[in-house]
């Protein structure tokens, strides 16, 4: 029995407990403990981050002449850490009052527990894949487990989940085709064999498997133009489920892309691989796909009026930073991309938790039906504030550090346009998240929300834990960067030269300890200056006036809808929904084809076909 066996068994045990006790009121608490145990099991393997080593599982089969093996290395460990933590905190969140309310509202709490446990298990299996076949199997398991989580709420989530599974199956089949092409050359699914053959393939032959695999794994990452499914599918998942999915689910695509692009093909090859009839390389294509994945979804998020949709769209956009950093391939960029996985998971989960808390109290996530909740739900506000600063990538939160690394990499690699694209994404994010926090927590309080209280501790505790993590890893990014350095050494990337506060470099370093320290010292001085001024007089939250009129609370004057009218007058016409149009065009085309095939089968005189075919075949034979 290796530590990996323990981990997988613990995860399996969690699923069993969810199945047996998920419907009990204490079930969530027990599950929380088992997730904690999984985290403990993972810590047994923490040595992986220090040296390029693998821990194999004693579980292995030989089926159809192919051996299936599972093993963990630093990369798996890092993703597994995020996965289990997301499962742990989501379950903790669900375990208390949120779950009770969910059940009271007719939700299936048992299924939610089971689905999250299954998701964690399947992700752990995927992360342990030791050859291409187990990678595919794990991939499919993850896809269907997320499908279960997405669909269990019923209602509008069904449409979204079906859309998801169609995209996911399309991706899976593309992957299978890519694997088949590799298998056709090697008769084997092992990583070394695949790496060998991918190294020796000619440019023209490398493109097909590379494209298929990237597209397939890119579906999960929601890379453009395969992104349409994600926002709705995540947003309609019940609160903690959405947090779980938003935190880690689509990053499985990144894990698989790292395996393929960096471990198997090798980034050097990708950089050198030219696109036919042009002067750009495969790396450029990937980088620009990532850049567009940053920009378009971010600006789509800007137009959302549902908090969960807004966050989910940002989740897509942030995935672009990860890929962008990664394909830059240098120490800084890849570290930024990898670190952003962790950072994004932490703040995104905190944000979803906070939104779910607001939904728990008010019953809506509609950004036009909220406002002024800061005084009512200060802890949720705090979590959201920390979260949005992280999401927007501003100091002092962790999102800043990972984005900084990506920016630096783009600057050092001399990619001005990609750099601008990345910054445009960040600016769009700032606009969008301010709208989020303003419309929910700032501005006018609605009368019907005057008496609501802060969410219970079972819900605020997870989000505050995450907020602390977001802040601490922003203050001391070295904590995460040590894992990243381990990954880089394992997968064969240049290793980042990190320090506890960030990065030491002759070309411009970053020391977050100093930056954050100075920032808070500045705040301290600001506070001293402020409080040394005259005494303030606190007015009631509903005591407002505008344009010389006193406003009573029942008059709605919260500025929320169409928050950026000036900007929208300019860029509004650019929203053409081309991807949605493309999707519906494919759908209509398919429908047309389907109708015509049905027409074929509905013909009244079917024997004619047989006759015609027989004659045709005979003609072919004779000629």
């Amino acid at each position: 029995m290796t530590p990996l066996d323990y981990l997988l068994l613990l995860s399996l045990l969690t699923v069993v407990i969810a199945l047996v006790a998920g419907h009990r009121s204490m079930g969530g608490v027990w599950l929380t403990f088992t997730y904690a145990a999984q985290l403990g099991g993972l810590m047994l393997m923490a040595g992986l981050t220090n040296q390029p080593d693998v821990i194999t599982s004693s579980l292995s089969f030989t089926i159809l002449g192919q051996s299936l093996t599972w093993r963990y290395d630093a990369l798996s460990w890092y993703f597994a850490l995020i996965t289990i933590s997301a499962g742990l905190l989501s379950t903790m969140y669900t375990a208390g009052d949120w779950g009770e309310k969910f059940r009271a509202d007719g939700g299936n709490l048992w299924l939610l527990h089971v689905a999250i446990a299954l998701n964690v298990l399947s992700m752990l299996i995927l992360l342990g894949s030791g050859d291409l076949l187990t990678l595919f199997i794990g991939w499919e398991l993850v896809s269907w487990a997320s499908f279960l989580l997405m669909i269990l709420a019923g209602g509008p989530s069904i449409q979204a989940a079906i859309r998801y599974i169609t995209y996911a199956m399309g991706g899976a089949m593309a992957i299978l085709a890519g694997l088949a092409l590799i298998y056709g050359h090697t008769d084997s699914f092992t990583y070394p064999a695949a790496a060998n053959i991918l190294h020796s393939l000619s440019t023209a032959h490398l493109w097909a498997p590379l494209l298929l695999l990237t597209l397939g794994f890119g579906v999960k990452m929601a890379l453009l133009p395969l992104h349409l499914w994600q926002a709705a599918a995540y947003a309609h998942t019940p609160g903690p489920g959405a947090a779980f999915l938003g935190a880690i689910s689509s990053r499985m695509g990144l894990y698989a892309l790292i395996v393929v692009l960096i471990q198997l093909v090798g980034l050097v090859r990708v950089i050198e691989l030219p696109v036919l009839f042009s002067f750009i390389s495969a790396r450029d294509v990937l980088a620009w796909v990532a850049a567009f994945t940053i920009i378009f979804p971010t600006f789509t998020a800007l137009r959302q009026n549902d908090a969960r949709m807004l966050l989910a769209w940002h989740g897509i956009g942030q995935g672009g930073y990860m890929l962008l950093g990664l394909v830059m391939g240098d120490a800084l960029g890849s570290a930024g991309g990898l670190m952003h996985v962790f950072n994004h998971a932490t703040y995104q989960a905190a944000l979803f938790f906070s939104v779910a808390a607001v939904v728990y109290r008010t019953g809506t996530a509609d950004l036009n039906r909220l406002g002024g909740l800061v005084a009512r739900m200060p802890l949720s506000f705090l979590a959201m504030l920390v979260g949005i600063i992280g999401l927007a990538g501003l100091p002092p939160m962790n999102g800043f550090v990972s984005k900084w690394l990506v920016y630096r990499s783009l600057m050092l690699e001399g990619e001005p346009l990609l750099f601008v694209a990345a910054v445009v994404g960040t600016l769009g994010t700032i606009l969008s998240v301010y709208k989020l926090i303003h419309n929910m927590f700032l501005g006018q309080l609605r009368v019907e929300h005057e008496n609501i209280r802060e969410a219970p501790w079972s819900m605020t505790a997870p989000m505050l834990i995450l907020s602390v993590v977001v802040f601490v890893t922003g203050l001391m990014p070295g904590l995460v960067l040590q894992w990243i350095a381990g990954i880089q050494a394992t997968v064969g990337l240049p290793v980042i030269d990190y320090s506890l506060g960030g990065l030491d470099s002759a070309q411009g370093s970053l020391d977050m300890l100093w930056v954050v320290g100075v920032l808070f010292a500045g705040f301290g001085i600001g506070a001293v200056l402020f409080y040394s001024g005259g005494r303030t007089h606190r007015v009631h939250q509903l005591d407002n006036y505008a344009g010389g009129h006193f406003l009573s609370a029942d008059i709605r004057y919260h500025y929320s809808d169409n928050f950026y009218p000036g900007l929208m007058r300019l860029i509004g016409p650019l929203y053409r929904y081309s991807f949605a149009w493309l999707e519906s065009a494919v759908q209509s085309g398919l429908g047309l084809l389907s109708l015509s095939t049905q027409g074929f089968y509905r013909r009244v005189a079917p024997a004619n076909y047989a006759l015609v075919t027989a004659v045709l075949v005979l003609l072919w034979v004779m000629l």
Binding site: P395, M411, G428, L442, V518, F520, G522, F530, H537, Q541
Partner: protein
């Protein structure tokens, strides 16, 4: 560098910034007065204004976040000043390069935005919406300029960038080496300062001074301090990027004041643009020039 030394620097740099900023405000008001054929305020008027505002009796607070917003706005700038090298003092500039500075400068805006949001005045919210839109507009040419300068210098450390420009006198200044970037930077700088014709988020006649609508007493005083810092920061960043920084305090101050004076002189000649026109204008010329500038730099 021992701890005491750096502590002194960290204390002095914001102080210097504040004092210089006060004089920049004075200069701004004097220039405006001259253009409008007025005399303008006396030397210490900005200081008097701040003291007056801090000492007011009516100080309306709309909640704790209202207060924190002002603290963040002032504190963020105080922090940012320690990352801007001045002659003889580098502060923590080498621990936080240009990009960090650019993003730290967003913290005060975020603080202000939060504080204004808590006030629940629609005019304030509209002002923030416009301010953020303006930020989306001017930050794009701004980061293009940052990229170009950092590429030219091979570093994003302001200390290195300044040192490189002081090697060879005026000929090595950024404005000579990369005139297109320098022009784009000046354009962006003007928009960053938010003066006419980019004054969309104050717009007294439209939205009753926007973010400031619920600010009185020391809240407004805080914003006044913030403005001092803002002018100083803008002037010094541009000086450091394109004018070779300060060889000594004299040239440093002259250059910084000159930089700030340029947009201010232009500002009072223009009316206010509409929001979308600001975005369109800023996305067109400075971005185009900046990109061409980068193309020159990178070849």
């Amino acid at each position: 560098m021992d701890a005491l030394h750096i502590l002194i620097e960290l204390t002095l740099m914001p102080l210097v910034a504040f004092v210089v900023g006060l004089f920049m405000v004075l200069m701004m008001r004097r220039i405006a007065a001259r253009i409008q054929r007025r005399v303008g305020p006396p030397l210490l008027q900005p200081l008097y204004d701040i003291l007056k505002l801090y000492g007011k009796q009516t100080q309306i607070s709309h909640g704790i976040l209202h207060d924190i917003g002002i603290i963040m706005a002032v504190g963020g700038y105080i922090a940012a000043e320690t990352m801007l090298p001045v002659p003889g003092m580098n502060g923590i500039a080498d621990k936080a390069g240009l990009i960090t500075l650019a993003y730290v400068l967003m913290v005060p805006s975020l603080g202000l935005a939060l504080g204004v949001g808590q006030c629940a005045n629609p005019n304030g919210s509209i002002g923030i919406s416009r301010a953020l839109t303006a930020m989306l507009a001017y930050d794009i040419p701004f980061v293009i300029v940052i990229f170009g300068v950092a590429w030219q210098a091979g570093s994003n450390n302001l200390v290195d960038i300044i040192a490189l420009q002081q090697v060879d006198g005026i000929a090595s200044w950024g404005i000579v080496q990369t005139p297109l970037l320098a022009f784009a930077g000046l354009f962006a700088l003007h928009a960053i300062l938010g003066k006419h014709p980019f004054e969309i988020y104050i717009a007294p006649a439209e939205i009753a001074t926007g973010p400031m609508v619920e600010m009185g007493g020391k809240y407004l005083g805080g914003l006044f301090v913030m403005q001092c810092f803002q002018l100083y920061t803008a002037g010094v960043i541009y000086t450091s990027l394109f004018l070779g920084g300060g060889e000594n305090w004299l040239t440093f101050l002259v250059k910084s004041f000159a930089v700030v004076a340029v947009p201010i002189c232009i500002a009072y000649l223009f009316p206010r643009f509409r929001t979308e026109d600001v975005v369109r204008l800023v996305w067109k010329w400075p971005v185009m020039l900046g990109l061409i500038g980068i193309a020159f730099v990178m070849n």
